[in-house]
Point group: C2
């Protein structure tokens, strides 16, 4: 690989373990696709462009059918973003484990960081939020999805869970003017908190402004108790970013302003009436046996 | 990280699983040290200089004592070669699994490859061969080491197994004039065969010329049946390389010529009397229950 003169080399690495980071029943195509997607998403959040990727694969046994489908998923996404596989290692292990390391390049003066949010910044997010969490919910809790949800809606939510789109184009564009960025892997509030902590600032979020897909809207219409899920569920791999309000016109891709950065520390979430959520769904577990209807 | 202008970015990745790539009883310091060493050795075999490393760690539980010793081993070797940890991920998993990816840089015109051996080349090896295999043997088969072996000899063999020295300086020097190179991780004959296959050539090796440490010599004096081990045991992480005989004076570090590349395909091993070994210890398993005295 060659890194263009003057550009910095950026790296991201993730380890995924079966039954922990994806349900063991996930199709091998989706396992391969997602293993690469979550790493490319990390590059996107830095504003970097991918150079190459390495893949470490620990497998209980060598099943050619599984491997072929896994490789098809991995290479489908790699081809889409012109990422070359530049190294790999396959070993035997009782537990299916994947280690992916992506290398990317960026103008060293335009690397997006978590620590650069400034009071007065708008907080925005690409795409829609909460889809992957709903998709996971419907898989782990069969019949948790409302009967009114169409098969197409359900397929959409599963696809958002299993084949997230790394926002590389958006991240590279944002690097020109955005202040801070992160990808939503752990949940909107938790990932925003990472920015706030690193930047030493606070924020206000308007829950009603969080962008929802038609499928998520259909779900929440039938099951209002699930409405807090987009605040806490992760795995959407959308980009959360902050920028000066006057730079908003430069955002030339689907994104939504959901709040603003403030000097006062802390994270405040306002409901549709503009009232602070008294009980933040921080750590709210949609899959907990103690799940009760929450505000 | 920055890659100097005009240099290529080279990558190597390895996955290590407990009980498969190292005995589960290996000290955490040694696990950390060796996980980095085997990857740096891959860079050495390409003639590259390290830039940075990522570490993926899948652990059954978070044991601060284990982690601290592991990190001490990893960082001890990293500091020795000025390698920066540039990314990491720690996850929970039933099986201790390590994924290490090293990035290095090299002059693109001077990258050592397996495919560049030429008929007439000498075949040489750095350091001594067979030590790690004997060390492993003494750990897996208690009392397999001859009683005459001194405690210092045994300590040396264990250190060769657990803390291999990546030959980065040697590899970088070899890149200026050597033809082909590989590190001995799978065993001398098997790794040489990788070069022969990639280069489309054959070779003759003189078994008596294989460089042995004083500890290995002491072992073989008491246990002559083990003498084939340096041909098949791996894990020494010495560099096996080929070069024009007239370039030999440029080798300014400990290395030994053990054979030569020939146009005729195949790998021939001559014993101390210059006779071909009729039964090559290819696939010879020192730990096999069927182990018998072999020539």
């Amino acid at each position: 690989m060659r890194v263009p003169t003057g550009e910095a080399l950026l790296v991201s690495t993730d380890v995924l373990v079966s039954d922990r980071h994806f349900p063991a029943a996930t199709s091998p195509f989706d396992v391969g696709y997602k293993a690469l997607a979550v790493n490319l998403s990390d590059l996107a959040a830095m504003g970097a462009r991918p150079l190459g990727v390495t893949l470490g694969l620990a497998l209980p046994n060598v099943d050619p059918v599984w491997l072929e489908a896994f490789a098809a998923g991995f290479y489908t996404l790699a081809a889409e973003h012109a990422v070359r596989l530049v190294g790999g290692d396959t070993v035997k292990s009782p537990q299916l484990t994947l280690a992916v390391t992506v290398m990317g390049r960026a103008n060293p003066a335009q690397i997006l960081r978590r620590s650069s949010a400034q009071p007065g910044d708008w907080i925005a997010v690409t795409g829609t939020v909460g889809d992957a969490g709903l998709g996971l919910c419907s898989i782990l809790e069969p019949n948790s999805d409302p009967a009114s949800l169409s098969p197409a809606d359900l397929t959409f939510l599963h696809s958002r869970l299993n084949r997230p789109s790394p926002r590389l184009t958006e991240g590279h564009r944002l690097a020109e003017f955005a202040h801070a960025a992160i990808d939503i892997s752990d949940g909107l509030l938790q990932d925003l908190q990472h920015i706030l902590t690193a930047s030493g600032v606070g924020a206000v979020i308007e829950q009603a402004k969080i962008p929802l897909s038609p499928a998520a809207q259909a779900w929440f219409q039938a099951d209002p108790t699930a409405q807090v899920l987009p605040l806490s569920a992760g795995d959407d791999y959308e980009l959360l970013f902050t920028l000066k309000p006057q730079d908003w016109p430069q955002v030339d891709f689907p994104a939504t302003v959901i709040g603003r950065i403030e000097a006062e520390p802390g994270l405040r979430v306002l409901d549709a009436e503009g009232q602070p959520l008294s009980l933040l769904p921080h750590g709210f577990d949609h899959f907990s046996p103690n799940r009760t209807s929450q505000p």
